[in-house]
Structure formats: C-alpha cells, structure tokens
C-alpha cells in the first residue's frame, strides 16, 4: 500500500470536480433524474469526449487510456460526490470490463473503441433475482443455430438499461452460463423502466425473445469473467460511496455551523459535534478502504478479492450511516423532497444493495480471512 496521491490524480480530481460543479449541480441532477432515460446526454458526451473519461479503463489498443483503478477511483468518487445521473458506472465499469475480461479480442475491437469514445453506451444485463452478478441461476437461455445465437428470458435491475445501446447479457448455454452481446435496440428486446427509490440511478427490466446475440469470449466462461468484473465494479462503487459520504459530512457540518437553535449554532451542541466526529471517522475509514482496494485492484489475486469485499462492505454501511446522520442533523428540512439530503439517503440505499449487500460481502470477507 502506498496511499500516495500522484500529481496527475490531483489534477484529474480537480478537473472532474470543476466540470461537475458547473454541469451537475443539484438542479441538473433533479432534471436528469426525472427525464425518461435518467441522464443528461450532453453531460455524458462531455464526460466522454472533452474529459476523455469513458476510455479510462480501456487499453490503448482499443482506443482507451489504460488508466489504473486508482485513477478510476478518483473519477468515481467525484461522480458520487455530485450524485451524477450518468450511465458511467453501467457502461465504463460494468459493460466495458465484461468485454475486457472476456478476452475476446475480435468482439472487443468491434465495440470497445466506440465505448471508449462514449459513442456507444453499454450495460450489463446479468441479474435476475439477485444483485451479485452471479449467472449460475440464470433462467435466460441461449440457443445456437449454426454460428448464430439467440437469447430468450428476462433480466432485472439493469443499470442504464434504457439508456444503453449495447447490452452484455449472461444466459444459460449448453456449455454453461455464457456472455453475449446484444443490440439493445433490436425489436425483440423489450425494455421497461423500473420504479426505483434512487432516481439518480435508473434501472430496467429487459426481456429477450429469440433475440440475436453474439457470443462474447468462450461459451461457459461467464461465471469466471463476471466474478472478476464484480470485483472491479465493487471497488469502483466503493469509491463512489466514499465520495458521496464525504459530501454528506460537508453538508451536515455546513448546516450545523449556520443553523441556530436556542440562540446557538447547533454545531456547538455536543450531540451534533460528536455525531459529526463519528461521521468523519466513517468517511475517512471508507476512503481508506476504497483507496486500498483500488491500489490492489489492477491485478486479480487474493488481496484484490479480499480488499474488494472489505471495501464494498465497509463503504456501503458507512455511506448509509452518514447519509442518515446528515438527514438527522438537518432535522425536518432534511426529510423534505426539495432538500438534497434525501437524494443522498436514497443513493446510499441503492449503492448498499447494488452488487450484493454488506452482509453478503462480509461473509465473503470472512471466507477470505481464514474462516
């Protein structure tokens, strides 16, 4: 572990932050979250084009900039801070890594350059009854006729499912769970928006009826590929959670300094002060867990796996606690629709559950720790 922030990372954070401060303030978030597709296309194109963030995770041979997980973590934490409504996580983290980890150079060459440029938006359609990218229980099936595959079945909880142009889908093939690439706009694909608590992160239910599909990687390899994709994704998500949690603390502290009750700033009361101190402990511990997991995350291995589970378990509960404490410190106004505290509270819940609950990851962490 180094925990050293490079000058490049500092510059990256600064540029993303200034960009989002002007382009994704609370009003922009609220506008995007009630839009049909749940994101602002102009913002997406600038993130991908002007800032070049869509290609961060992609090797140069496919048109990306081959950055480290620690760089990605910087971007994710800023996206979390601003609650950005964006297919970034779905496309740049989930779908892109599914392509990459498949090892299928031909298909990668066909899609990754456009994903890296942000011209295509990808999504990963694996979950049916669980949220953990575990394809073993897939009821979606793949049938082969000659060289062609078709998929039939239904996927649930697909992030950016409506926004996506291309889907990576897991399905039960004769040789086991396999990954496929599907044109999201094909007539046989039916996409339904889910009603979700966290409106800053739209999700869809997607059904396939004999939908033409291209095999991605080797048939039967989905479980291994997705296991590594999930590991990378929870590390990215942990950074997003830590960034959002830090913003909740700042909101709470700012309010505590400016809100007067009993003729005093409420931040002068020990009950509030100590709650804020505990929030800081959670925030910094979450940042530590996310940073460490990102440092370990570039290469697969036992420590990458362990630190990913630890980061997701810890950051999930830390963000949830800090978001709830932020509501509490704001009192009644924190509970109103019009105030931003509720957006973070709901984001904290969706992030906590996404890709496996903290309890799920603690169980995995125990299994990685000699238990």
């Amino acid at each position: 572990m180094s925990f050293v922030t490079t000058d490049e990372q500092k510059a990256l954070r600064q540029s993303v932050r200034s960009f989002l401060e002007s382009k994704s303030d609370e009003a922009a978030v609220r506008a995007a979250m009630v839009s049909e597709l749940g994101f602002d296309r102009a913002l997406w194109e600038q993130l991908a084009g002007q800032l070049g963030l869509a290609g961060l995770a992609i090797p140069e041979e496919y048109g990306g900039s081959a950055s480290s997980m620690s760089d990605l973590a910087v971007v994710m934490s800023e996206l979390g801070r601003f609650l950005v409504c964006s297919p970034y996580f779905a496309s740049v983290i989930l779908a892109t890594n599914a392509f990459l980890e498949s090892g299928d150079k031909e298909v990668c060459l066909a899609y990754l350059p456009r994903l890296a440029a942000g011209e295509l938006i990808g999504a990963l359609a694996v979950n049916e009854q669980t949220a953990e990218l575990a394809p073993d229980a897939d009821t979606t099936t793949a049938e082969q006729g000659g060289a062609d595959w078709t998929l039939s079945g239904e996927k649930n909880f697909v992030l950016a499912g409506l926004a996506a142009d291309v889907l990576v889908v897991s399905a039960a093939a004769p040789s086991g769970p396999s990954l496929f690439v599907v044109d999201a706009t094909h007539a046989s694909v039916e996409r339904t928006a889910l009603s979700v608590m966290d409106m800053t992160r739209h999700q869809a239910r997607i059904s396939f009826t004999q939908t033409p599909a291209t095999l991605l990687g080797e048939a039967g390899a989905a479980a291994a590929v997705l296991s590594r994709v999930a590991e990378i994704a929870v590390v990215a998500l942990a950074s997003e959670q830590a960034g959002a949690a830090e913003r909740c603390l700042e909101m709470a502290v700012d309010y505590a300094k400016t809100r007067f009750q009993f003729g005093r700033q409420i931040g002068s009361f020990q009950a509030i002060k100590h709650l804020c101190a505990d929030m800081l402990l959670e925030v910094e511990a979450a940042k530590s867990a996310a940073l460490y997991a990102a440092e370990q995350g570039d290469e697969a291995g036992a420590e990458a796996t362990r630190s990913a589970h630890l980061a997701k378990a810890y950051c999930s509960d830390a963000f949830m606690k800090v978001a709830a404490d932020n509501v509490q410190i704001h009192g009644g106004i924190g509970f109103t629709w019009e105030y931003a505290a509720q957006l973070y509270y709901k984001r904290a819940k969706s992030s906590q559950v996404l890709l496996g609950t903290p309890g799920h990851h603690r169980e995995k962490l125990a299994a990685c720790s000699g238990l």
């Binding site: 979700v196 009993f262 700033q265 509490q328 009192g331 509970f335 019009e338 509270y345």
Partner: protein, 429 residues
C-alpha cells in the same frame, strides 16, 4: 403473545361497550349523527371527567373502547390531534366557557384540529418562534409562518403558538390560541417529503385574526400550556397511544368523504397510507423470501421483538403507574423507544428484500411498502421532537441533570434575536 387484563373493570367496560353497540350501532346514520350519538353516550373520551363529556375512567379506557368498536364493526369514536392534544390541553388550561365551546365539537368529531407549533427557524427550539400575534381591540392579528402541520388542509382549527410580546424573555412572550383556519389570511401549502407524499403542510399567516376569547391559558402563558400539549403528544407518539388507531375527526367544514357511518367504518378498517412495518410483517416476509432460517436475520428479528415488546410494556407501566412521577418518567421514554423500533424494522425489511430494496412503489414486494417505510423511518428520530431533544428532556426532567448554559434566559427576546443575527453574520463572513 397472549395478554390478559386481570383488572375486572376493563372486562366490565368491554361488556358495556358491546351492549351499547348492540342497541345503538346504525350503519345507515350519517357520520355526524353517529358520532353525536357516540359522544352523547360518553364513549369518545371515556377517560374524561363525567361532567366534561367523559365517564371518569382510567386513561387506558379510551383505547379499550376503540378496540371494541372496531371489533364490533362499528365506526370508532373520532380521534386525531384534537382528541390527542387539543382537548386535553383545553381541559387543563381553558376556562369553563372555552371547554364548553371547544371540547364538545372535538368529542362529536365535527371539528378537526391540527398543530401550528414548528416554524422554519423554530424546530428543536420551539420557544424560539417568531410568528407574531399583535393585539388589536378584541382580537389578535397573526403574521408569520408555521411548518410541519400534518392535516392542516383537512382541519378547521389549529393549536397556534404565537409571540404576543417580544420585549420580555423568550419563554414569557408566547401565547397559545385556538385558531380558526377557515379565514382569508391563511394559506396552507402541502410540503412534499422524502417519501414523495405530502403528509405535512406549511401554513402562512397574513394578517389573520383570532378573537381574544380563543386565547387559552392567558396571554404570555403559552409556554406552560404547550408543555401540556407536548406531554400528550409524546404519550401518543410513543408505543402507548390509542388515538392513532382511531379515525380522524371532523374533516374540514364538516364534509365527510363517506355518506354513512357504515361506509366510514369499512373505510377505516382498510388501512391506507404508508402502513407501519411491524414484527409480524417482517416474520412473514422472512418466510416469503426463504430467509427465516438465516441466523443473522433471526438475531435481528429477535432484537426487534425485544424492542417492540419492551416498548409496549414500558408504555403500559406508565399507564398503570400509581404515581405521576413514574408515569411521566416512563411516558417520556416512549418516543426514543419508538425510534429504535421503526429504524430496526425498516432496516430488516430492506435486508430481507435484497435487490428489491432498490425498488419503489408501485414496484417492489407488497407494492413497495418496505421501501417507502425505509424512507419514512429517517423521520422517526425527527418528528415530534428530535431524539436529541427527547434525550435532553429525559436527562433534565427525569434524571435531574443540569440544563446547558445558553444565551440569557432573562433578556428580552428581541435582544437575543439581534445578537443571534450578529453572530450569524460574523460566522458566514
């Protein structure tokens, strides 16, 4: 969880109610006529003195009466904030004339009440309110703003706290009014909450009026009157309240959505709004989700059982306590006891749902009620006085720990406000 009341008076009361209903329940009556009959018989507030429309029974009687009405299938006596807070407050602090004028319309459900206490700048520090009541002849002119008034849109009257004097110390300049909402100077605006619903309202006063004879407890004595109101609120929000299970009283201007008492009874029997998520719901959900054998879930549900039952039992001990100090000590714990029940129940619900916890009504199991309850649960430690305020109150009034030093309690409130404004300016500069 068999429970037995070995007190024989309660059994006698249940018999009396059933007997009376057998003779008097008429589903064809309109709601006002039925409630008038109920009030005339003394059932609405059986725990009130006999000469004030009640029967002089112990305080748990009102809950028992409502249980029997509901079991019988009859429309229960009116409840709502009028019964919960306004009636006992006016009974305690009102003049005989005021009691005569305000209490019967609460008991017969013809007038609905809301609370007009909190302000944007006066939440935890309720006494910091700045809504102004200026005396003009035989009335007061009201200007200012209230917030967090649940049911204000459906109410005829509000329990209004306003400052009648800025030139005396903070707590000495407040008065408690029975305030009619049915007048031009009042603007009620729904306030949307995290849940997406608007249970609460903002209420704006622009030269609204209240006659001098509707001032309860005397000018400048509002803070003492408020303590009574808040006591009944705490008892009600805590695990022991019985009016939460009663239909709301008098819908504004006497208009009822149901045409007959029978229809109203049916509507009341069908729960509406964000239903509470309680232990049995979660046990059923655990089975439905195949998690009933999960030791971590079992541990949490058992903890919830402990919180729920001890909350109920402590509330009961408050009710049967034979000295007021014990009753008060236990009643004051109701709110914080309730917070931990609500928060843990909400958390277990989310835990059991797994990925479906991300859904929201109308999606998600059971119409998304568990998600909605989770959003709602964040307010459980805020409404009715934050848990921080509850703990202050408990530690000071029950345990006798010292109050914190604050700005002068004797300075005219006008000066306190000015110095506060100066500090705020300094700290934002």
């Amino acid at each position: 969880m068999a429970e037995q009341d070995d007190d024989s008076w309660t059994e006698r009361l249940r018999d009396d109610v059933r007997g009376w209903l057998a003779e008097n329940w008429d589903p064809a009556l309109d709601v006002p006529a039925w409630w008038q009959r109920v009030a005339d018989a003394g059932w609405t507030a059986a725990h009130f003195p006999a000469d004030k429309g009640g029967m002089g029974l112990p305080s748990q009687a009102s809950g028992i009466v409502r249980e029997e009405f509901t079991t019988f299938g009859a429309l229960a006596p009116p409840g709502g904030l009028g019964m919960l807070m306004a009636a006992p407050t006016i009974l305690t602090h009102g003049t005989p004339e005021q009691i005569e004028r305000f209490v019967p319309p609460i008991l017969n459900g013809s007038v609905g009440w809301c609370q007009l206490f909190s302000e944007p700048g006066a939440g935890s520090d309720l006494a910091g309110l700045t809504t102004r009541a200026r005396r003009e002849g035989d009335k007061f002119i009201i200007n200012g703003q209230k917030v967090w008034s649940s049911g204000a849109l459906q109410s005829d009257y509000g329990m209004l706290l306003a400052r009648t004097d800025f030139d005396v110390p903070k707590h000495a300049g407040i008065s408690w009014f029975a305030f009619s909402l049915n007048q031009p100077g009042v603007d009620v605006r729904p306030l949307r909450e995290m849940t997406g619903q608007a249970l609460f309202n903002e209420v704006f006063f622009d030269d609204a009026e209240v006659p001098v004879e509707d001032l309860i407890g005397g000018e400048g004595n509002g803070w003492a009157v408020t303590q009574t109101t808040l006591f009944y609120e705490r008892v009600g929000i805590g695990a022991g309240g019985s009016f939460g299970r009663a239909p709301n009283a008098g819908v504004k201007n006497g208009i009822y959505p149901q045409t007959s008492a029978g229809e109203a009874a049916k509507a009341f029997a069908t729960p509406s709004g964000p239903a509470t998520v309680a232990l049995p719901d979660l046990i059923a959900l655990a089975h439905a989700k195949g998690r009933a054998d999960d030791p971590n879930i079992r541990e949490k549900l058992a903890t919830l059982a402990c919180y729920t039952d001890t909350g109920r039992w402590t509330a009961r001990r408050s009710v049967v306590a034979d000295d007021p100090a014990t009753a008060n000590r236990l009643a004051l714990l109701g709110k914080v006891a309730q917070t931990r029940i609500v928060k843990l129940a909400a958390e277990i619900g989310m835990d059991l749902l797994g990925p479906e916890a991300m859904l929201w009504p109308p999606d998600g199991p059971d119409g998304g009620r568990f998600s909605e309850y989770f959003a709602f649960s964040s307010a459980s430690s805020i409404y009715g006085g934050t848990d921080q305020i509850q703990r202050n109150v408990i530690s000071e009034r029950v345990l006798g720990l010292p109050r914190e030093a604050g700005p002068s309690k004797t300075a005219p409130y006008r000066e306190v406000l000015e110095s506060q404004r100066a500090t705020a300016e300094r700290s934002t500069r």
